[in-house]
Symmetry: C2
């Protein structure tokens, strides 16, 4: 049976991407990366819950504390205020962590080569996203070439981005189709108990559920 | 003044590569990565000594302990014996750490983007090396494309590999020309006090010094 390393942040998208890998009948290995982001422990808890749900034995949690020390992002630097979400904005938001996905995919590639896995599943979304440069299909295509040139000749690894062209609405519907445990996921950039409902990540998620005509099972700030 | 992030392992090659960056008049930021390799603390000490020598203020030490947990290499897995060196071997040696340089360059790219640096200096050697797939110029070229596609549009980062086509002999001679502190470097994969003189890394280094007609300042096992 082929193995897929799934990048599982604990958020909605990566949960649905992992569900896609499971639906292909692949053996799953779950990778979670913390990097000093504000909601690190809540995301870690979501990761473990999703992994428990799928009965995942192979789990790797990597701590990239240096990404927090590098700074340069409102997601990891406590001295930069996380701005209110704005889905109309077209520039790169302050929550962008410099080259974060390069780091995440490199760990995934190392682990996948060591396991003899054939796939890396990533829940990146290009169309209906926050506009991070390292979430575009072009980036993942180039990373695939990098893996080809930087691993053993016998290593054959494909990066799969099943959600890259989907809207959040479509991701919610796909997750429901696949019976993915959406209630175990966490998306808020700001809070760990009750989602704020106002950061970019909450706004995207809420719009997705609303457009899908489904109630988001997560608790939100009552002030909304 | 432009800044160069220099990957400095503590070994001979990265020391000479950093010296090349210094000779260009660039402001230097030194990055060191530990990943559970056998001689981790000795390499860290070499890194700090070289950084002290050059008066480097910007230093980042990243601990990739997950690479050790992933295993798959005699360099990090204590259950895999590090083989005696063999410079005639043409396959990929057991000391290969899966996709290690993808991880290292990703950290360098994150830090460089955050610093606004324009260059990443890497002491990789293709011609006269251990045959790791992630030490070839093709790999670094592809990584340059990856950085272009995965960072902010205004980020302009070039990966510089000044030693890629040099032999170890030429690297030693170049290091002497540049007055690089070769006596502060450490290359042995196996020991932390007296170099073993028998692992791949020692064999390559000793051959380089011998062919350059120079005595290696490091202490070696007297049994040699």
């Amino acid at each position: 049976m082929s193995t897929a390393v799934c990048l599982v942040s604990g958020g909605l998208d990566s949960c649905v991407a992992a569900a896609e890998a499971g639906a292909k009948g692949l053996s799953l290995a779950f990778l979670h990366v913390t990097y000093g982001q504000l909601t690190e422990s809540r995301e870690r808890r979501a990761f473990e819950s999703i992994a428990d749900h799928y009965g995942i034995v192979q789990r790797l949690v990597a701590d990239l504390d240096y990404l927090g020390r590098i700074g340069g992002s409102a997601l990891t630097d406590r001295s930069v205020a996380l701005p209110e979400g704005d889905l109309e904005r077209t520039d790169i938001p302050l929550s962008y962590v410099p080259f974060r996905n390069g780091n995440l995919l490199s760990i995934a590639a190392s682990w996948a080569e060591s396991l003899g896995a054939e796939f890396i599943y990533v829940g990146a979304v290009e169309e209906d996203s926050s506009g991070y440069p390292d979430c575009r299909q072009e980036f993942f295509d180039t990373f695939g070439q990098l893996i080809d040139s930087g691993t053993r000749p016998e290593t054959k690894l494909e990066i799969v981005t099943p959600l890259i062209r989907l809207t959040k609405k479509e991701i919610v519907l796909r997750g429901l189709d696949l019976d993915a445990p959406l209630g175990l996921t966490w998306s808020c950039y700001r809070n760990e108990d009750v989602a704020c409902g106002r950061c970019d990540s909450c706004l995207l998620r809420l719009r997705g559920f609303r457009e899908a005509g489904v109630v988001d099972p997560l608790p939100y700030d009552e002030q909304l």
